[in-house]
C-alpha cells in the first residue's frame, strides 16, 4: 500500500478514534462516580447534535453570518444544554435508584435512550430523516497524492485532545476530582467527609453529558450529517472502548477509543476479507483482548483484599 493511502487511513482512524474516545471518556466518568453504565450516553450525544443544529438554524435565522462565531456559540450552547439535561437525568432517574441493584440503572438509562431517540424522531420537525450540517470551519486542505490533509480535521483533533486533557486534569488535580473518586468508592463515607454527594453526581453527569455534546459537535463537523439514531452504535462502541481500555481510567478510554478505530480501519482496509466484516473483526479482537486482560488494557488495580 502506498504511503499516501496509509497516511489518509491514519488520519481517518484518528478522527474516528477521537470521537470514540470522547464518548468513552463519558462512560468512564459515569462509571467512576456511580459505578453505572449509562446506556443513554449515545443518545445524549444525539441530543447535543440536534441542539447544536437548532441553535445553528436559529443563529442563521437572525442573520448571524460569521461561521466561527456561530460555531463557538453552537458548541457552547449545546454543551451547556446537554450538561444541564445530564444533571437533570441524574436527579430524576439516577440518584433515586442508587439503592437498587445497579442493573436497574442500566435498564432505566437504556429506556431513557429510547425515549430520547424516539422523541427526536417524533417531535423534531422532520426528525426521522437525516439532516445536513454545514461546514463551519474553513475548508483549507492540502493534498499529497492520495492523501488529503484538511485543516478542519487537524483543528478538531487538537481541540478534542485538549478537551480530554482538560477533563483529566479536573479529575486528577482538583478537589472535585478527588470528591468524584471518593464518592465512587464509598458514598456514605464520602458524605461523612463533608462531600455533597448529590452535587458531585450532578456535576459529574453534567460534565460527562456536556462531553457527549462536545463529541457530537465534533462528529457533526466532521461528517456534516445528523440523524436521530446516530447515537445508538456510537454509544455501544464508546462503551466497548471504555471497557477495553479499562474503566475508571481516562487514558484507558483514549486508548480504547483509538484502538477501536484502528481495528475498524484495519478491518476495512488492510485485511483480505470484505469490508463489512470490519465490525466482526474489531469486536472479535476486543473479545480476545478482554480474555487476555480481563480489566482492560490500562485496567483497574485490584483493591480488594481478604
Amino acid at each position: 500500500m502506498d504511503i499516501g493511502l496509509i497516511a489518509q487511513q491514519t488520519v481517518n482512524g484518528l478522527m474516528l478514534g477521537l470521537i470514540y474516545s470522547l464518548v468513552a471518556v463519558g462512560f468512564t466518568l459515569f462509571f467512576g462516580v456511580l459505578d453505572v453504565i449509562k446506556f443513554s450516553h449515545g443518545d445524549m450525544l444525539t441530543w447535543g447534535v440536534f441542539t447544536a443544529f437548532s441553535v445553528y438554524l436559529g443563529l442563521t435565522l437572525i442573520g448571524l453570518a460569521a461561521p466561527v462565531l456561530i460555531l463557538v456559540i453552537v458548541a457552547l450552547v449545546a454543551m451547556a444544554a446537554i450538561g444541564f439535561l445530564g444533571a437533570a437525568i441524574a436527579k430524576v432517574l439516577i440518584i433515586p435508584l442508587k439503592g437498587a441493584p445497579p442493573l436497574n440503572t442500566l435498564l432505566i438509562t437504556l429506556m431513557l435512550g429510547t425515549v430520547l431517540r424516539e422523541s427526536i424522531r417524533l417531535f423534531y420537525p422532520d426528525g426521522a430523516n437525516p439532516k445536513h450540517f454545514p461546514a463551519l470551519l474553513p475548508d483549507w486542505s492540502h493534498s499529497w497524492g492520495h492523501f488529503t490533509l484538511r485543516f478542519d480535521n487537524a483543528l478538531m483533533l487538537l481541540t478534542g485532545l485538549l478537551m480530554i486533557v482538560l477533563v483529566q486534569l479536573v479529575i486528577k488535580r482538583t478537589k472535585l476530582g478527588m470528591a468524584i473518586r471518593a464518592v465512587s468508592q464509598d458514598e456514605e463515607t464520602a458524605r461523612v467527609m463533608g462531600i455533597n454527594f448529590n452535587l458531585v453526581v450532578y456535576v459529574t453527569f453534567a460534565i460527562g453529558s456536556a462531553l457527549a455534546a462536545f463529541a457530537g459537535v465534533i462528529y457533526v463537523l466532521y461528517y456534516n450529517e445528523l440523524s436521530f439514531n446516530m447515537g445508538l452504535l456510537l454509544g455501544a462502541i464508546g462503551f466497548s472502548a471504555a471497557a477495553v481500555g479499562g474503566f475508571g481510567n481516562i487514558y484507558g478510554a483514549i486508548v480504547g477509543g483509538f484502538l477501536f478505530a484502528m481495528l475498524q480501519s484495519i478491518g476495512a482496509a488492510a485485511l483480505p476479507f470484505a469490508s463489512a466484516y470490519k465490525d466482526v473483526f474489531a469486536f472479535g479482537v476486543v473479545i480476545v483482548l478482554i480474555a487476555v486482560k480481563p480489566t482492560g488494557i490500562l485496567g483497574e488495580k485490584e483493591t480488594e483484599r481478604v
Binding site: R181, V192, K301
Partner: protein, 239 residues
C-alpha cells in the same frame, strides 16, 4: 460552678432501618470539652445513634442539636461542615484511593495547603507506617493499618466535635494504648469527643461521662467514675 455548654444534644430520638425501630426514645448530652462515651453490647444500637447524628440514617422522631443548631434533618455534608467530624466504624477507608488521598479527604473542608500539610505530618508522626505506605492503596492495607488510616483521616479535619466509633478495632495492644493517648490529646486541643468503644476499662479511664445502651435504650448513665463502680457495668464489661 462552671457553666456547662452542650456541644451535642440528642433529644428523644427514634431511629430504625427498614421496619422496627432500633433506637427508642433516646436522649443524651455531650458537653463541650469533654470526652463522653457510649457503651453497650454488640447490636445495642451505638452505631445507629451515630448514624442518626450524622444524618446517615435520620431519626424518625425526636431532635438533635449541635451547638444549639437543629441538625435533625440536615444533609450529612452540611452537618459535617458545621464542625462535626467522625471516624466511622469498621475501618471505612476508600479502598481504591491511596493512603495519602484518604488522609487528604479527611481535610476536605480545609483549603489551605500548608495547614493540610502540617496536619498530615502530624498524622505521619503518630503512625509512621502510614508515611511508609503513603502510596499504597488503602484497600490493600492490613486490618490494623486500615484502622490507622481511618483514625488519621479523622484527625485531618479540625472539628469542634469528633465522633469516634470503635477506633481500636483490630489494633495491636501497643497501638490501642497509643490510641487512647491520642484521644486524650484531642480533648486537650479543646475538641469535644463522643466515643464508642468496646474496650470499656480504658474508655472509662479517659472519659468524663458515659451512657450505657441496651437494646436501643439508655439503661445507665453517669460520670465515668460512677459507671466504673456500677455493678452491672462491671459484670458486662470487665468480667
Amino acid at each position: 460552678m462552671e457553666k456547662k455548654v452542650s456541644a451535642l444534644s440528642v433529644r428523644g430520638i427514634y431511629t430504625g432501618y427498614d421496619r422496627a425501630d432500633v433506637i427508642e426514645d433516646l436522649s443524651l448530652e455531650v458537653e463541650e470539652g469533654t470526652i463522653t462515651c457510649l457503651l453497650g453490647n454488640n447490636g445495642s444500637g451505638k452505631t445507629t445513634v451515630i448514624r442518626s447524628i450524622l444524618g446517615l440514617t435520620p431519626p424518625r422522631a425526636g431532635r438533635i442539636l449541635f451547638h444549639d443548631a437543629d441538625i435533625t434533618h440536615l444533609a450529612t455534608h452540611k452537618i459535617v461542615r458545621l464542625g462535626l467530624a467522625s471516624i466511622p466504624e469498621g475501618r471505612k477507608v476508600f479502598p481504591g484511593l491511596t493512603v495519602e488521598e484518604n488522609l487528604r479527604l479527611g481535610g476536605y473542608q480545609e483549603d489551605d495547603k500548608e495547614v493540610l500539610l502540617a496536619r498530615m505530618q502530624k498524622v505521619y508522626a503518630l503512625f509512621p507506617r502510614l508515611e511508609e505506605r503513603s502510596t499504597q492503596l488503602a484497600g490493600t492495607m492490613s486490618g490494623g493499618e486500615q484502622a490507622m488510616v481511618s483514625i488519621g483521616r479523622g484527625l485531618m479535619g479540625a472539628p469542634k466535635l469528633l465522633i469516634i466509633d470503635e477506633p481500636s478495632l483490630g489494633l495491636s495492644p501497643l497501638l490501642v494504648k497509643e490510641n487512647f493517648r491520642i484521644i486524650q490529646s484531642i480533648r486537650e486541643q479543646n475538641i469535644t469527643v463522643f466515643l464508642v468503644e468496646q474496650n470499656v476499662r480504658q474508655t472509662l479511664a479517659i472519659s468524663d461521662y458515659g451512657y450505657v445502651l441496651s437494646k436501643g435504650r439508655v439503661v445507665a448513665q453517669g460520670s465515668a467514675d460512677t459507671l466504673r463502680d456500677n455493678e452491672e457495668v462491671r459484670q458486662a464489661y470487665f468480667g
